[in-house]
C-alpha cells in the first residue's frame, strides 16, 4: 500500500480515537462457547429488567477468552471471561504481569457431557472402560503395547450392539475435550486395569502412563470436531453409526434427533448430575476483573443478577436450558457481593 493510502486513514484514526477512548457504559464478556448460551440468556433478562445496556457477549473458547481477559485493565479490555474450566496458574501469572491482579471467580453451575447417537440407531449403555478400549491409540496386551485392534463396539463388550466404532469427539481447542480425557478415557483406563498393565510395561512412569491412557487413536475411527455441537450433529446425521460427545443442554434441545446413552448405568439429566450420580460433568465459571467493578456501570449488578436464585437457581431459566444449578449457590452469591478475590495473586 502506498504511503498516501496509509496516511489518510491514520489521520482519520487519530481524529476519531480522541473520542473513542472515553469510558465504556456496557459490560463486555468473552470466552467459552459452552457458557455463551447461558450468558446470553442472563444478558437478555438483565437488559430487559435493568436500566443498564444489555451486555455484549462474544464466544471464542475458554483459553482465548482468558487470554483477552488477562491482557490488561482498562475500557478497551473485557470485563468478564467465561470459562468451561478453572483458570490455570500460568494464566493467573500472565494476568498479574499485565496488571490484572484482582479476579473474582464465580462458579455458575455444572454442565453434563453426554454421549448421543442417531435417534433411529442402536441404544447404548456405556462405561468409561468401553470408551477407553474403543478410542485408545494403543492397548497393553500380554506385556506389550499394540495398536488398538477394536473396530466394533461388540468386540469390546458383547453386550454392546454390533455397530462399527465411529466417534465424534471435541477437538483439542475445546475445554470439553479435557473433561472427556480425564473423566472418561483416564477413568476407563484405570477401571479396565489397563493403567496397571501400562505401568508394568513402561516401568512405573505414571505421567507417561496417563498420557498413554488419554492418547486417542488416529486411524479415522475417532474424529476430532473443532467446530460446535451443530457440526457434530450434522456428522451423526450423515453417518448413522456415529456417536457424538455433546453438552447436556444441546442434547435436551435436540431430543427429537438424538438418543442419549447411559454412562455406568446412569441416564444423564440435571437431577442425576446434581446428585453426583452421572460421572461426566464439570463446573462452569466466569471470572470478573475486580478493577472494573467500580468503573463499568452495571457490572456489579449484572454479576449479582447472574448468580441470583431467580436466574441460576434450580427453577430459573438457566436450569431450564440445561445447566445443573450449583448446590452451593448461596456461597457464590456471597462471594460476588463481597467481591472475594481469587487467592494466590
Amino acid at each position: 500500500m502506498s504511503l498516501a493510502n496509509l496516511t489518510a486513514p491514520t489521520l482519520a484514526i487519530a481524529a476519531l480515537s480522541a473520542t473513542a477512548a472515553a469510558a465504556r457504559d456496557n459490560v463486555q464478556v468473552a470466552g467459552s462457547s459452552t457458557v455463551l448460551p447461558y450468558a446470553a440468556i442472563v444478558a437478555e433478562a438483565f437488559g430487559e429488567n435493568f436500566d443498564y445496556p444489555t451486555p455484549v457477549i462474544e464466544s471464542g473458547g475458554s483459553s482465548a477468552g482468558l487470554k483477552r481477559f488477562c491482557s490488561g485493565v482498562g475500557a478497551n479490555t473485557i470485563d468478564i471471561a467465561n470459562s468451561s474450566r478453572a483458570i490455570k496458574p500460568p494464566e493467573m501469572k500472565i494476568c498479574a504481569e499485565n496488571g490484572v491482579t484482582g479476579i473474582v471467580e464465580v462458579r455458575i453451575g455444572y454442565d453434563g457431557i453426554v454421549f448421543a447417537s442417531d435417534i433411529n440407531g442402536n441404544s447404548f449403555a456405556f462405561t468409561p472402560a468401553d470408551w477407553y478400549l474403543a478410542l485408545a491409540a494403543d492397548l497393553p496386551v500380554d506385556g506389550a503395547m499394540i495398536a488398538n485392534p477394536n473396530t466394533n463396539w461388540n468386540m469390546i463388550d458383547t453386550d454392546l450392539p454390533d455397530q462399527s466404532i465411529k466417534a465424534f469427539i471435541p477437538g483439542t481447542k475445546h475445554g470439553t475435550r479435557e473433561v472427556f480425557e480425564e473423566k472418561v478415557l483416564l477413568q476407563g483406563c484405570k477401571d479396565s486395569g489397563a493403567m496397571g498393565a501400562i505401568l508394568q510395561i513402561n516401568g512405573a512412569d505414571e505421567k507417561a502412563a496417563e498420557a498413554a491412557c488419554m492418547a486417542v487413536r488416529t486411524d479415522g475411527l475417532s474424529v476430532d470436531i473443532d467446530g460446535d455441537y451443530t457440526e457434530t450433529l450434522a456428522r451423526i446425521e450423515a453417518d448413522p453409526n456415529g456417536i457424538g460427545v455433546f453438552g447436556l443442554s444441546f442434547y435436551e434441545n435436540n431430543t427429537d434427533r438424538l438418543q442419549v446413552a447411559t454412562m455406568s448405568g446412569v441416564l444423564p439429566g440435571t437431577a442425576s448430575i446434581a446428585a453426583g450420580d452421572y460421572p461426566v460433568s464439570r463446573p462452569l465459571y466466569f471470572y470478573i476483573k475486580a478493577a472494573h467493578l467500580d468503573e463499568i456501570p452495571g457490572l456489579q449488578e449484572f454479576t449479582q443478577f447472574f448468580v441470583s436464585d431467580e436466574i441460576a437457581g434450580p427453577d430459573g431459566p438457566l436450569a431450564e436450558y440445561g445447566l445443573v444449578s450449583d448446590p452451593q449457590l448461596t456461597a457464590t452469591q456471597d462471594a460476588v457481593s463481597n467481591r472475594a478475590l481469587l487467592g494466590g495473586m
Binding site: 489518510a8 484514526i13 487519530a14 472515553a22 437478555e44 451443530t230
Partner: protein, 442 residues
C-alpha cells in the same frame, strides 16, 4: 469431366475433424456452465427451502388483564416503582390470560398449566412490560396484544415440527401442538409475515422465535458508510496520482505490485491488523462498527484502486492531449475530462468492493463483532463517539445462528442468508445498470 480433388461444397476429413473438435469444445463449455448453474440452483433451493420460514411468524392474540395490585402496588404510576416489576411478573399475567382464553373457548386439553404457559414465547413478557411502562394508563384495564408463540409452536405451523417429532422432543408435546391447532382454528393463533425478523435484535438460545436482524443490519450499514467515506476518496486519489501524475519508476512499479498483492491477502490478516492497530494501539472500542469499517476499508482499498486505475486507463489519451493542447493544466485535464468519463467504471468498482466488504466475516471475528448484541447501536453518542456502539454484521449473524443448539436458529440463519443475498443482488445489479447506462465506448 472428373470432379475436382477438393471442393468447398464437400467437407474433407480435416474439416470434419476441425468441426468435431469445435463441437466438443462447445459441449465442454455448456457442461461447465451447467455444473455452475446446478451448484447455484442447489444452493439457492436449500437456502430458500430452509429460510423461507424465517419470514413468517406465529402470534397468539391475547386480551391481557393488567391488575394494579400486581403491577403498581402504590398506585402512583411512578416509573421507578413500576419498573421494579420484572418480566417474571409480567409472564404470569400472560400465562393467566392464555389459560382464560382457552377456558372461554371451552377447549379441552390434558396439558398441565405450565405446559400451556410454555406455548408463549419468553420474549412476550418483555414486550408486554415495555408496552405497559410506555403506556402507564393501561394499568387497571386490559391490553390487547399479539404476542409471539414459542419456537416449537411456530415451527409446527411452518412444518418444521411435526406431531411425530414432538413426541420425542423434551421441549414440547403432541398435545401442545394439537391445542395450538385448535387455537388456530379459533383464530387465536395466527401466522403472518414477520417484519420483526428484519427489525428485531438478536435473541438468546431460549427464544429463537424472537431473533431478528435489526442490530446486524444497522451494524452493516454503519460499516458500509465508514468504508464508503474512507475507501472511495482515498482509493480514487491514490489511483489518480498513480495513473496520471506519478513518474514511471521502480518505486511506482513496487507500489503497483504491492497493491495487487494486498488485493489477494486473506481477509483475516486485516482483522489481525485491526486488532493490533485500532484497538490495542489507538484504543478504539471493541465490537464497534467504526473499527469494523476501518478494517473493511483497508480490505476494500486495493479492489477500488485496481478498478479505478483500469477505468482511468480506458479513457483514450486523445482526450487528455486535446485538453492539454487547448491550454488546460494537468489537474484541469484530469478533473474536467478524464475523471467524469471514468466515473461509471469507478462507481462500478466501488459497489463491487462494498458488496465484497458486506459479505465479509473473518476479519470481524478478531475485533469482537462476532458477539451477542441486543441493544441497537446509535450512530453517535457522547461516550462511544461516532459509530462506537457495539454491533454485529449480517454475515456474522449467519455465523452465530448456525452455532446455536435450537433448530429454530437454523431457519433464521438461512433467512439471514436470503436477506444478505438480496442486498448483494441489489448492489451487483446497480453496478451493472450504472455501467450499461453511463459507459462510453470509443
Amino acid at each position: 469431366m472428373t470432379p475436382p480433388a477438393h471442393s468447398l461444397l464437400k467437407s474433407d476429413d480435416r474439416t470434419r475433424r476441425r468441426r468435431a473438435s469445435e463441437a466438443r469444445f462447445r459441449a465442454c463449455g455448456l457442461a461447465a456452465i451447467g455444473i455452475a448453474a446446478l451448484a447455484l440452483a442447489v444452493l439457492l433451493t436449500s437456502v430458500l427451502a430452509n429460510g423461507a420460514g424465517a419470514f413468517r411468524q406465529t402470534y397468539i392474540k391475547l386480551q391481557i388483564p393488567l391488575p394494579e395490585a400486581s403491577l403498581d402496588k402504590a398506585g402512583q404510576r411512578d416509573p421507578a416503582a413500576m419498573a421494579k416489576v420484572s418480566t417474571f411478573g409480567y409472564a404470569a399475567l400472560l400465562h393467566a390470560a392464555l389459560l382464560d382464553r382457552i377456558a372461554a373457548l371451552q377447549i379441552e386439553t390434558e396439558l398441565a398449566d405450565q405446559d400451556v404457559a410454555a406455548m408463549i414465547s419468553k420474549e412476550a413478557a418483555a414486550t408486554l412490560r415495555d408496552h405497559v411502562l410506555a403506556n402507564p394508563h393501561l394499568i387497571g384495564g386490559m391490553a390487547a396484544m399479539d404476542v409471539l408463540a414459542a419456537g416449537r409452536i411456530d415451527g409446527y405451523f411452518k412444518g418444521r415440527v411435526t406431531l411425530k417429532s414432538a413426541a420425542m422432543d423434551g421441549n414440547t408435546s403432541p398435545q401442545a401442538l394439537q391445542l395450538a391447532r385448535k387455537l388456530a382454528d379459533a383464530d387465536v393463533i395466527e401466522t403472518r409475515f414477520n417484519w420483526r425478523f428484519l427489525t428485531a435484535p438478536d435473541a438468546s438460545d431460549q427464544r429463537p422465535e424472537a431473533a431478528g436482524l435489526g442490530v446486524a443490519m444497522l451494524g452493516s450499514l454503519y460499516m458500509m458508510l465508514v468504508v464508503l467515506a474512507l475507501a472511495l476518496p482515498v482509493g480514487v486519489a491514490a489511483s489518480i496520482y498513480l495513473e496520471e501524475f506519478a513518474p514511471r519508476s521502480r518505486i511506482s512499479d513496487l507500489i503497483e505490485v504491492n497493491i495487487s498483492n494486498l488485493a489477494a491477502v486473506p481477509s483475516i490478516v486485516f482483522g489481525i491488523l485491526g486488532l493490533a492497530v485500532f484497538i490495542n494501539f489507538a484504543g478504539m472500542r471493541q465490537s464497534s462498527p467504526l473499527v469494523g469499517g476501518l478494517v473493511l476499508t483497508l480490505m476494500t482499498l486495493p479492489t477500488i484502486i485496481i478498478s479505478t486505475r483500469a477505468a482511468l486507463k480506458s479513457v483514450p489519451p486523445s482526450i487528455r492531449d486535446a485538453a492539454l493542447a487547448l491550454g488546460a493544466s494537468r489537474m484541469q485535464a484530469v478533473f474536467h475530462h478524464v475523471l467524469p468519463l471514468a466515473a461509471p467504471g469507478i462507481l462500478t468498482g466501488t459497489i463491487l468492493g462494498l458488496a465484497q466488504a458486506l459479505g465479509e466475516t473473518a476479519p470481524l471475528l478478531l475485533i469482537g463483532m462476532v458477539a451477542f448484541v441486543r441493544d441497537y447501536p446509535v450512530a453517535y453518542s457522547d461516550t462511544a463517539g461516532l459509530f462506537g456502539d457495539a454491533a454485529t454484521a449480517l454475515p456474522v449473524q449467519v455465523f452465530n445462528w448456525t452455532q446455536r443448539a435450537d433448530p429454530g436458529f437454523a431457519e433464521r440463519a438461512s433467512g439471514a442468508i436470503i436477506t444478505l443475498l438480496v442486498f448483494l443482488a441489489v448492489m451487483n445489479t446497480a453496478a451493472i445498470l450504472l455501467r450499461r447506462r453511463f459507459e462510453r465506448r470509443w
